[in-house]
Amino acid sequence: MQRIGVFVCHCGSNIAATVDVKKVVEVIASEPGVVHAEDYQYMCSEAGQEKIAIAVREKKLTGIVVCSCSPRMHEATFRKAAERAGINPYMVEIANIREHCSWIHKDINEATEKAVILARAAVAKVNLNTPLTPGESRVTKRALVIGGGIAGIQTALDIADAGYKVDIVEKTPSIGGRMSQLDKTFPTLDCSACILTPKMVEAAAHENITIYTYSEVEKVSGFVGDFTVDIRKKARFIDADKCTGCGACQEKCPSKKTPSEFNRGLGTRTAIYTPFAQAIPNVPVIDTEACIKFKTGKCGLCQKICAAGAVDYTQKDEIVTEKYGAIVVATGFDTISLDKYDEYAYNQSPDVITSLELERVMNAAGPTHGHLERLSDGKAPKEIVFIQCVGSRCSDDRGKPYCSKICCMYTAKHAMLIRDKYPDVNVTVFYIDVRTPGKNFDEFYRRAVEQYGVNYVKGQVGKVIPQPNGKLLVQGSDLLDNKQILKEADMVVLATAIEPNKDVRKIATMLTASIDTNNFLTEAHAKLRPVESPTAGIFLSGVVQGPKDIPETVSQAGAAAVKVVGLLAKDKLMTNPCTAKADELLCNGCSSCANVCPYGAISYEDTLVNDHGIRETRRIAIVNSALCQGCGACTVACPSGAMDLQGFSNRQILSEVDAICR
């Protein structure tokens, strides 16, 4: 029989206001196995933890139940306290009488009654707890960053600077990501390329960083500290070691009509191409869909022109397998499809563009060489309308329910830049709210209004109607004047909602990282662990976790790097001891458990067993506790009950059931 101490927390008034804690102590004291029960204001405080230590010492406790907040909050705290007091940390159970009780019930009798039952269930479970010891696993001192945008680059640089090896895997032919497509950045208006390019160069030159561009993560196995990852290096058809980046091949390539991904489809590129001039690596790739040589077998101009002999049409995809201790997901975002927003005429008129497309239009290296002009006829616009919240803050299935966060600021930036460069152009912004929390952000927005005379109208646009004269009739509302506005514009710019990169769900599945309904990866704790995934060893950097601007992304990238470095700095990791274990006398060796194990943690060995005097060799399931993550799928698949989960054993859970249904 255990000697159990029960500690009931008031959590100030959070628990005590709705649960009669004294009553809980009184009732629980007579439960079987309970030798000590007390309550205290804040059990998680140092004084509270000291109370546990004293009781362990004086009452020779072997098990502890803390009735407090959610175990997701303080289980680790109390386990550490138990360990310090000299008992196994896994002899602690938490009865969640705050989130699951005091906070949701109003009636004190009802809440107290429930708190007692929850405490009883925890006591019943502790009665069956056994001391568990975490195993140890090694840490591969190398990190993988998936995504080579500003988030990935910054994370990689920070990890590399701390002295650890780090690989960046980028899907496109160059690192740089969305930031490389931007013209200027808010709120300082410095040129995006001018601040990004040095970082790209630094990453490429860093001795600790290896960059795999035009590559994708194909397979991930293993666990924190010891991931094995297959990276598919797609064939570039260029020998990167030989290529000098002279660009002659691109000049000569006769296939010139493919829409440029980098310019958001507004310009074209050749079949052999580098996405932009500052691309890193400065090694082109051949788009086999567009290449005449690949399509017809004729041409081969690029190979002929290449003085370095770098063009190799026979190159094949290559799989690189590498081991990592930690993985950072920095897969970034894209703008949503506007196919469902007919009312804005995006698909009807080339003069209705997204803000990201406007970035390319305003950029000197863009399709219009930086001249603000209508894409339909190349004329300079005189009247521009910006529409905010296109697809953001929508509760229907056309858009996204969240605020994309960056649009208010970049629209202020665009409006300001246009008014600065072309003072004769009128700029109107239709907004619902202008959201500018951030250092110097609201000042920036006010400058757009006060200094640059941008016309902000509170109200949404209902319809954009292309006119026969090439103009765009914008029908919007001005809620403050209670008027409907009809405005003829030359150009309409849509602040299109952003969404996580389409591939992220596939990556999350490979990593077993949780992902929310909007395809943002879930953080381990919304407030306290914002850059970690609940899956150990997986970290989040940038918009993959939620919408954010560049300064926020860079800070988060650094934070993720620190977490990675903290992990890589360890030589060994403690593994979760709540793993499955087969009772060799009960195991049939039927393989049901191995069939359902998502980690391949179960193997079978012919084992000599002594079953009550009968010695025979049997096929027995063996769980690799380093691989087992403790889900318990095997325990239910096992017909004989041989497989059990430590810390959540059949008998423990049944005892909880019994205690609750008593």
């Binding site: 906070w103 769900r505 325990t635 698949a637 859970i653």
Partner: protein, 145 residues
């Protein structure tokens, strides 16, 4: 222990640690009330729930059992809830087959962000169980007449 003889059902909720238990925590921190009749047992994953636990609960007098897990595709262990889904489907069908009222068992996918869904689900489940009344059949399916 009801004051005015109102039927207070006993309801056991198995919640996976990663999504639904967190969803229940969120319901708590958002103060989204649901009846105290619901008692939550934390399991690592919905796939840890053995049909024996459910039958045991009924046999010990539970009036309803609900299993909550991550949404299919979002399982922390990637595939656990898919197995749970099959197991529970077949078990529930069997319970229906032997004459246990439909509605005493339920599976609901609740993510860590769905505090509202957790609370709504529990309110609805408790109401349904109250409608069904006390569970006599499972406690009574004995070998002896």
């Amino acid at each position: 222990m009801s004051v005015n003889n109102e039927f207070r059902p006993k309801i056991v909720a198995f919640c996976c640690n990663w999504c639904s238990y967190a969803g229940a925590d969120l319901a708590g921190s958002s103060r989204l009330a649901y009846p105290a009749d619901v008692k939550i047992i934390r399991v690592p994953c919905s796939c840890r729930v053995n049909p024996m636990f459910i039958l045991r609960a009924f046999e010990k007098g539970a009036d309803g059992v609900i299993i909550c897990g991550c949404h299919p595709g979002d399982c922390h262990y990637s595939t656990g809830n898919y197995y749970a889904r099959r197991r529970m489907t077949l078990l529930f069908s069997m319970l229906d087959y032997i004459g246990v009222e439909k509605g005493r068992t339920r599976v609901e996918w609740v993510s860590a962000a769905e505090g509202v869904k957790f609370s709504d689900t529990m309110n609805d489940f408790v109401a349904k169980i109250k409608g069904l009344g006390e569970n006599v059949r499972l406690g009574d399916l004995r070998c002896k007449n």
